[in-house]
Point group: C2
Chain length 872, copies 2
């Protein structure tokens, strides 16, 4: 059995390959001949012109497949999107200022205007996103990280999400709340890439390749950051650090190319719009070049780094704490869940009340927008001039920092403290928003604070060699910004982003030192903000191996693997299949030669097995059985009495014959020779409508159909309803009378279950990833993250002895790595994490259905998809 | 048979694991108890102090294992090395200038001084390197790329190589030839890391982990670039691009940390040495910040990029051409091989003659060193001021560019052309040297040329909006430098290096655009310089998948795999083993269940099989056989006549017993229960000395011993000679008389070969990497480079149907990727590529030995290692 089976599949695969290749050749031949036909047809008039056109067309179409065209289009598109979004945000903010400024006669009206405007915008953003595509909520970087690991998140890369994200983001940022655009832009760029890929696939086939799409998504992430900050290099590096665990260097140029082009167009648009004279940095600084800083200032920079590390960890912790608090308070939670838009509105109200410039806002430069704050913080003049010029003229926006009664230090401290919790709170609002920019501004303010203190402490600079080089607090702000954003995101490349944003690289060493120190501190205290969100949202992930924990080298796979592997054998019967499917919840099952030898032959997807089962027990098969029985009956009858109305019997036999031919064309026979690849067959929700017919059935096995009902539903979610032709086909079947009693059905199913499984039609992965029991945890982690594995079998010379999945690996790593307070596994489901159904959910769902069915209640049609809709 | 065997190995592995872990625990327990003993011993006086000391000591030792300590040490060391090397080079160059300046009375003497100095230095460098460690020759980046792919290159990471590289490099650069220090510094840093690792392993066990060492080597490469240019970010990126195909992001911080620390120390040393006032960039520029360039200058930058692309490809081609030319000209080659130092001396003579300042050198700024040229080229003043100020004062080094008769444009063109071929020629000299810096300078000169032309063309700048912004030729020089070096090395990160080197990032967009265009052009024409060297040196490599060749998605593994796989079956006899080993040359062999089923069970290393064979046919076994035969004989004799001298027989029997006990302790019995892991057994050159005893043997099978002789030698190369105790052991064996005739030996071996192989003692890899026949070339390439594979088996549901090795993959990729003139496979062995013996060589060597043996000549002892020495 085994040998035959093996060889059959090999032969099958080869034939299939040959067929595919042949058809490809044939197609190109027909194309060529068509072109020739075309030529001959028009031979009379301007044949040369025609030839030229055809060639050009062919050339263009062939070039469309090239990567660089795709990347240029992507870069162009994202630059436009970024510019338009920025433009709209600027208009929104101006409108708020204008309203606030116009009502300066009445403070109360001013307050109303100041507060209502953001509340309305945020509420609109939250509502719009919620209605159109709830997946657009939040940063998007955690999801992209998961997607780039190879996990398919439904609905995350659709056009709807794109629209929701862009509009939602514009409104959210237009409100003036402390929110950022970086994270969402990573998501938007990926959406762009996915949609563009879909669009381009109309021209060439290459866009359907999955691994290519993943590479393009990685490039898109770089574009997202690049066009957001006009920082191509920092964009590429940041996106690599934030989304990948292993990075293909051959993918590098893609990111650079697209991000550079995008940043270029983004800045050129600004020049064309007369905002800028030429292409320069977004937040250009003008620090002196000759003597950027003294060696003796380095301890201050190091202090900024270490403090930022603690601050970053605190920010991540605070953010998570707020989410958890809101979830745990059931009363609040229930209330907020009911009025989804209340939470955003309340938060916005609170934040904007506190920043109201005539109120508390005067002590924290409340009237400055985020961008304005950053520009003033990076200013190269010193605010706290002691001695010489007390009445330093704060020109432009800088005057917001000056308060007649209050010292500039107090303003800065208040700004930092207030913005800190405000940002942590604001980023929990369910709108499309990032946390990078707010954190960046806070960091800059902190750096400025240290810098101003240093300037006050050493008014003439530290250097003792004659020349006076006063201290530049703006440089400290740059260092602080890079350090705090680096600490929150656990990245080093914020340093590069800072250089590109300010257009100056003179502070490279202080920035690098501070960023590295901040990272060291933050990484040992908390996960990164994105990892924290991943854990809160319960996305499938694999924690990083952090700063040199060498005990990981001593843990082996055999210590963490699950020894009780669910497997199926080559010669099992459908009942075994049924039992395995009911008890386990792994997505793939191991196929072994026999329970004794346990030699691993391959792995089969759960869905494949489900379709096998449904084919075996499905209605079509049963109808066929009925027909066969009827035919046998008829034959028996015709033997007994041969006196019926002849044309009537002819009609029925015709009908039956018609039915059978339909059957054969749509459903594969039970034990056929190998046919087409089975993927499309999987999508047929062939038995969806059956449960309504057999409302009650006391027997175990008739419930399988119900299970099939469930099993088919995850696939049908993608496509809205079963294809029309299939439906009509199922409708046609109604002609044959389903006159079996429940007992008969149960009996029939019982018999069907005892048959041996025929794997011929099943897609088997013949080389699932295998590990040896002595593989170290370190190596396992490497392999899992390199190959984006979900699970791996542990074998000992061909014999299956265990399985390791992401879950076990995660546990093992966290067990050895986590020090304190990081294992966040909130018990309640978030109202933010819709769209990703975990496999555990599926199982409980299945059991629920099962129990309900057992207790004889009426199962409704499409129950799972309904409950799915509700959860969104 | 199969089941039992399988289970046995599993059990064995588990026992082994338990044993190891237990011993680990025991060790820690004993350590603790020892500490306690210590405490009790000194209880009387200052016990607390003792406790404190012990704890501190333990803490320190445990901390030594931490990554960051290692990285700090590495960074510190490399910064010191870099600084000292720079210092020595500066002194050397100053000495030359001083000599040249002091002899200005006589041009001939001047010429002699100018020429002799570099010739002596280069010759010394070449000779010194050749004698101490020929592996130190050249850049080192190609080798590091190979090592990081997982290939072990002998002698590349030893202390000798370190010394040779550092001293050789200092002398080579001190000569003033157009050579660079970047590539060698990557190698030096890796050497440092490897040596430091070895040193640190005295303190903690973690340093013995192989995957950790690879990660540290990757970080070391970053340090090398970082401390060479004081460019931490660019260093990390450049080293990633140049050495890796896939990069672990978790390794990222290591590189950044070490490179930043190293660059910091490197620059701090300069400050302490009073060279600099504070920490700034190496080649600081002072371009204006407000308006760095006009949008309309971008086409000029693009032109620089494209031209640099062609130039870079030409450089690589030229470099290879020179190497090939010298190799192909057999007469020249033979001559140069004889006088190894002649070639470097001649090249140096030629180059320094041409740069002689009073001679041709006056037209190409010949008296400037590389560093001075770069500083002047990056100057922010315009040289070619038309109209206004013809008599522009070239202060400082800039005056070298001014010639009374000749235009500055002519000087620049001459400089570019001459330096171009000089650099290409100079980098073929067998001294430690890189090509990055020369190329960088040429690029800067080219950029300057374009910039000066633009400045001459638009004397008032291009901008039309009132303000006059003159064109900055220095900016063009920056762009040109980045573009050309990017084109030659196929990297984008030269852009970042340029920013860090100049301390200005204002030209980011032009630089990025030029670098990307240069890369696009160069990558489509030629391999990178490092890949070119890899091919010339025939190092094992895997070509990159370049700019979007989508035909690769359509090639499948089944199209390229080798179907005729060498395999061994579970129940094969030693004769099969012997035949397989003789015919094939793969490093590992597949183990299948049986020739009929072809189910892949695992793979076995060639060396393992060789040791199995040698154990089976080795002298010890034969002696045992002789002893057994003798014992049987004696028994027979004692039965026949019981009248011998009693104490004599007692003596021999004692002797024999002693022999047997020795045997058992050193060599495992033929069919024992599973014992220790076999790695150490592999290293025993147990049969090295045997061939001298059986000089002639007409029969096939007695030749196996000879084969063993050869097979053992690659292992013994590493260790200078067999361990003393083993030697004495073999010597002891001499006590038993080897009285078998050749015919008897042949017969005995014949019998031995017919026995079934016992795999119990053999290390089997139970999960070799498997692919499916339909895997695409693209995916195969990804997996190979991700996991650093050497080969993978192609299976079809457990059945072995083919094998793909690096060679096939390489062929397939080059077949589809290479456009023209790249497939360089020089037929002659280089005099530069010593130390890496290819497997093909081994095979021919084997056959040669075999033939020689057949023709009854006397095989010499240690033949392979002798021939190996000769090739070095």
């Amino acid at each position: 059995m085994y040998g035959r089976y093996t060889q059959e599949l090999g032969v099958y695969a080869k034939e299939e390959a040959a067929r595919l290749r042949e058809s490809g050749q044939r197609r190109s031949v027909t194309e060529r001949s068509r072109a020739l036909d075309l030529l001959e047809y028009d031979k009379g008039r301007c044949a040369k012109c025609r030839i030229c056109t055809v060639r050009c067309q062919k050339f263009l179409i062939s070039r469309v497949g090239e990567d660089w065209i795709f990347l240029i289009l992507l870069g162009l598109l994202m630059a436009l999107v970024s510019w338009v979004v920025d433009f709209c945000i600027a208009i929104c903010l101006q409108a708020q200022k204008w309203m606030y400024g116009g009502l300066d006669s009445n403070v109360f009206l001013q307050y109303l205007a100041w507060v209502t405007y953001p509340v309305v915008l945020i509420t609109f953003s939250a509502g719009f996103t919620q209605i159109l595509a709830p997946q657009a909520v939040g940063s998007g970087i955690p999801e992209m990280k998961t997607i780039l690991r190879g996990v398919v998140l439904k609905e995350y890369l659709t056009f709807k999400t794109f629209v929701a994200k862009v509009i939602g983001l514009t409104c959210a940022l237009g409100s003036g709340m402390p929110l950022g655009k970086e994270g969402p832009f990573v998501h938007i760029a990926s959406l762009c890439a996915a949609l563009l890929s879909k669009f381009m696939s109309l021209f060439g086939g290459i866009y359907e390749n999955e691994s290519r799409n993943i590479e393009m998504l990685a490039a898109a992430c770089a574009v997202g950051v690049g066009c957001c900050f006009a920082a191509p290099i920092g964009g590429v590096l940041f996106s690599i650090e934030v989304t990948s665990t292993f990075f293909a260097v051959r993918n590098y140029w893609r990111g650079f190319f697209a991000a550079t082009f995008s940043a270029f167009i983004f800045r050129v648009l600004a020049v064309w719009n007369r905002d800028e004279e030429t292409i320069t940095a977004l937040f250009k600084t003008r620090f002196r070049l000759d003597f950027p800083f003294d060696l003796q200032e380095l301890p201050a920079f190091a202090v900024i780094g270490i403090a930022s590390g603690f601050g970053g960890a605190l920010f991540v912790y605070l953010n998570r704490l707020i989410v958890q608090f809101i979830r745990k308070q059931k009363a609040i939670n229930r209330f907020l869940m009911k009025k989804r838009l209340l939470y955003p509105a309340l938060v916005t109200l609170l934040v904007s009340t506190l920043t109201f410039p005539p109120g508390f806002g005067q002590f924290m430069a409340g009237k400055l927008t985020q961008k304005e704050s950053l520009v003033t913080l990076l200013d190269n003049r010193t605010w706290a001039k002691q001695g010489i010029a007390e009445e330093f003229d704060y020109i432009g926006h800088s005057q917001a920092w000056k308060h007649p009664q209050v010292n500039v230090f107090v303003t800065l401290v208040l700004f930092i403290v207030m913005k800190f919790w405000m940002s942590a709170l604001a980023t929990t609002i369910p709108v499309p928003c990032g946390a990078f920019m707010p954190v960046f501004v806070i960091g800059a303010a902190f750096g400025r604070l240290v810098g101003e203190s240093m300037a006050a402490w050493f008014p003439d600079g530290i250097n003792t060699d004659g020349t006076i080089y006063p201290i530049v607090p703006g440089g400290y702000a740059v260092v602080g910004a890079a350090a705090l954003s680096g600490a929150v995101t656990h990245t080093v490349s914020t340093a590069v982003i800072v250089f590109e944003l300010t257009g100056q690289i003179s502070h490279i060493l202080p920035v690098m030192i501070a960023v590295i120190l901040a990272n060291a501190v933050a990484q040992s205290l908390q996960p990164s903000l994105y990892d924290s969100i991943i854990r809160i949202k319960k996305l499938p992930y694999l924690p990083e191996l952090g700063w040199g924990h060498h005990e990981k080298y001593n843990i082996r796979v055999e210590d963490i693997m699950v020894r009780d592997v669910r497997y199926i054998t080559l010669n099992c019967c459908y009942r075994d299949l049924h039992n395995v499917l009911l008890t386990g919840h792994l997505k793939t099952l191991a196929l072994v030669e026999s329970a004794e030898s346990m030699i691993l032959l391959g792995s089969i997807e759960r869905a494949q097995l489900q379709s096998l089962l449904s084919q075996q027990l499905g209605r079509p098969r049963r109808l066929e059985y009925i027909r066969e029985r009827a035919a046998a009956e008829k034959k028996r009858l015709s033997v007994v009495s041969n006196t019926g109305s002849e044309d009537g019997s002819q009609r029925t036999s015709q009908e039956v014959r018609f039915q059978i031919s339909t059957e054969e064309s749509s459903f594969s026979p039970t034990r056929p020779t190998p046919q087409k690849p089975l993927k499309p067959a999987l999508k047929r929700p062939s038995v969806v409508e059956r449960p309504t017919e057999i409302p009650t059935s006391p027997h175990d096995n008739s419930g399988i159909a119900l299970k099939n009902l469930f099993c088919a539903s995850p696939d049908t979610e993608g496509m809205e309803e079963p294809p029309a032709n299939l439906k009509s086909l199922l409708g046609d079947d109604g002609d044959v009378e389903d006159d079996m009693t429940i007992r008969e059905i149960a009996e029939w199913e019982e018999n069907q279950l005892d048959e041996q499984v025929n794997f011929n039609n099943c897609k088997i992965d013949p080389a699932p990833f295998q590990l040896v029991e002595r593989t170290s945890l370190h190596k396992t982690h490497t392999i899992f993250s390199l190959l984006g594995l979900d699970h791996a079998y542990v074998t000992s010379i061909g014999r299956l002895i265990g399985v390791v999945s992401l879950k076990e690996l995660r546990k093992a790593i966290e067990g050895s790595v986590t020090v304190k307070g990081v294992k966040v596994r909130p018990p309640l489901a978030s109202f933010r994490d819709s769209g990703t159904s975990s496999s555990e959910n599926e199982v409980t769902e299945l059991h629920k259905l099962w129990d309900r069915h057992k207790s004889m209640s009426l199962p409704r049609e499409h129950t799972p998809s309904e409950s799915d809709e509700k959860s969104q």
